[in-house]
Symmetry: C2
Subunit: 449 residues, 2 copies
Amino acid sequence: MQFELTREYLDKIRDEITINNSQFIEKEIIHLHPADIAEILDELDRDEAKFIYDHLDSDLQGDVLMELDEDVRQNFLESINSDQLAIQLENLDSDDAVDILGEMSVEKQLEVISKMDSDNASELVELLNYDEDTAGGLMQTEFIKAKLDWPINRCVIELRRQAEEVDKVHTIYVVDNEDRLVGTLSLRSLLVANAKSIVKDVYENTNMSYVYTNEDAEEVARVMDKYDLVSVPVLDLQKKLVGRITIDDIVDVMREEADKDFQMASGISENVEHDAGIIKMSRARLPWLMIGLMGGVLGSQVIGNFETQIGAIPSLAFFIPLVAAMGGNVGVQSSAIVVQSIANGTSQFSSILSRVKREAILGLLNGVICGVFIFGITWLLQDIRLGISVSIALFIVIFFAAIFGTLIPLILHKYKVDPAVATGPFITTLNDVVGLFIYFAVGMMVFGL
Amino acid sequence: MQFELTREYLDKIRDEITINNSQFIEKEIIHLHPADIAEILDELDRDEAKFIYDHLDSDLQGDVLMELDEDVRQNFLESINSDQLAIQLENLDSDDAVDILGEMSVEKQLEVISKMDSDNASELVELLNYDEDTAGGLMQTEFIKAKLDWPINRCVIELRRQAEEVDKVHTIYVVDNEDRLVGTLSLRSLLVANAKSIVKDVYENTNMSYVYTNEDAEEVARVMDKYDLVSVPVLDLQKKLVGRITIDDIVDVMREEADKDFQMASGISENVEHDAGIIKMSRARLPWLMIGLMGGVLGSQVIGNFETQIGAIPSLAFFIPLVAAMGGNVGVQSSAIVVQSIANGTSQFSSILSRVKREAILGLLNGVICGVFIFGITWLLQDIRLGISVSIALFIVIFFAAIFGTLIPLILHKYKVDPAVATGPFITTLNDVVGLFIYFAVGMMVFGL
């Protein structure tokens, strides 16, 4: 692509800032895309960033502010006075403005709002009421609507009038006299339609998609994805049109969702940025570590029951980590597939039984392969009886781990628990404990202890 | 939302199909959104699905075909004759048509292409040449372009002429006489502009985003996401405009990417659907299981070195799984954050050292908390010397696991290996082995063995 931020270029920018070279900023930086400017600012320290920021006009300042990393922005907001902020928020789309407003302290919020013109302010105050993970929290109040009995050219006039304020228009929403959404009119059909026809004759009202303000952000993402929408209208509970959500905001929701799932699978329970505070990061990780510890303690109790046997044949202990780890690995593999197909909503009705059957067959196959493999190695390295114990135990452990790994997320999902929680340490821990028991039970039989 | 497929409704549809009730299909099904019809067809068996499919007109048939699950579609394609398929592919956007074409056998491809009109066919044949994971493989050839010297109303006429063929128009691309992209014209500016002005006077040419045909799909996703684009023009290597990519296709790329990362982190090396064949699934999982096995064997060698000590104090063996598991868990947690911030391209220049320092501090903190906790439990359940051994070992293991978990993905990334590979079994296995060694070394010192 056109712009790429290199380390060298960043160093050059730093040097120019050090010598207060305004000309450089005005010649090279301010013509970049706001997202590129924000990328530069993200890497600079606060004073350097402020130097560039002060060279931007207030329109661009708002756009750049919105594109900054959340933590950089938070730090940055403190250095901007409320009058400036009020102007910049007025220039932004309402959904972006309310996001930034939501990151400020309540005092700062009050201060900034008091400096804004009252129309803009009341809009933002209303938007602030919505939970940020709902359609209401994502929507913007800038959109263009037309009434059923308007002539087409009035739509064009309306569009021209609002063109300044509404940034990305893709669709005109058609409402009845009560402001209830009844259909849509694409810009294309507006261009193609005869200027004298009225909206009622040319608008589309089949397969209309919309969401309600209180709907979950993930549900909005699902709808937009399923129906390939670029924007979706938002209705209040009286079916009145109150906003719209555009695809770029939903892309962010989807990525956050994917990040959260990935972190969950890796045993991190709160969604944390890579640069969050130490205490917050510790708190996000401890729940899983504690589950792991409890699992380890349980495991120690299981092994404790076989203390005499270990005393007699210490080599039995050699393969404890192997058996425990493999149970965990297989369980995580099986559950990942289930968690993912639940998250993507694919084949929702294919029966639980057939899933479990597939994983069981797969477990048998992989169990045999791994079992044969480890039998050879163990026989070679130790002796044949240990080889028999380890390979039989491993086979059984893999088989059961595959079944547990499939069943647990399915069961959690049935009881409305997010199955992403089920992967990672939870399944690993369960399979550890069960695996150890199987291993020692098999070992006792083989060695006749 | 409006349509939700329930088990009851699905059963009802099945019943109506059994009694050949065409009226029901025509009254209830064919007015649904293609994505909803596809959702129903995904759940039915092939003959039932075919019954509904035959009731749709050919336009709708194409749209539904495109929305089906890939494996359902593959099964389904066999039951449709080439003449029908040729018509349906002609009705689809070129990017969707070429996707479906790409799923057929070469014989079927040749057959279907021979039945299409030659313009459509040659377009598709050209698109088939691109790797499906590049911009060329994602783009569609339906877009509207205008020349710099055209009057605005000619754009409107062009738009009207092509309106049938180009489904979702958001932007008109402006090209020079050599067909090279020079800027864009939004539909909104078209509506707002004076009919007599010419393109040159009203088009936008600042901050223009585009991609080249050979660019990676992930890079296209990054660009569209960063600049909040709804569609992006695709240029060939002579900078000629050859296609465009719309956001809905990129959303699919992003989701596949997230799925792949999630599976990688869960130890599945190929991207497999939840309903892929057993052999394919087994092959995707075995590499990680083999790494796990090798790690287990290494672990057994480490423990083997302490055989006499275990014989003397079997209770040392009780906490083997705990130490091994905790090293793995902490390592995965640390690496997940790094892998994610690499994938999202955040703060690319913040130094490796500061990352490692953060994770080391976090490791110290969590190590102390977990260590104190396990000391209490082990003392209670076993004896104080075992408590001291386990807690000190655990503290050291957590500390090192945090550092390894951070360093390994950073190093892999530096050497251009996908760091998503580094999470999951690889780090788990490494930490297992190192952890065991630390544990027994500490145990020997504490017990004076």
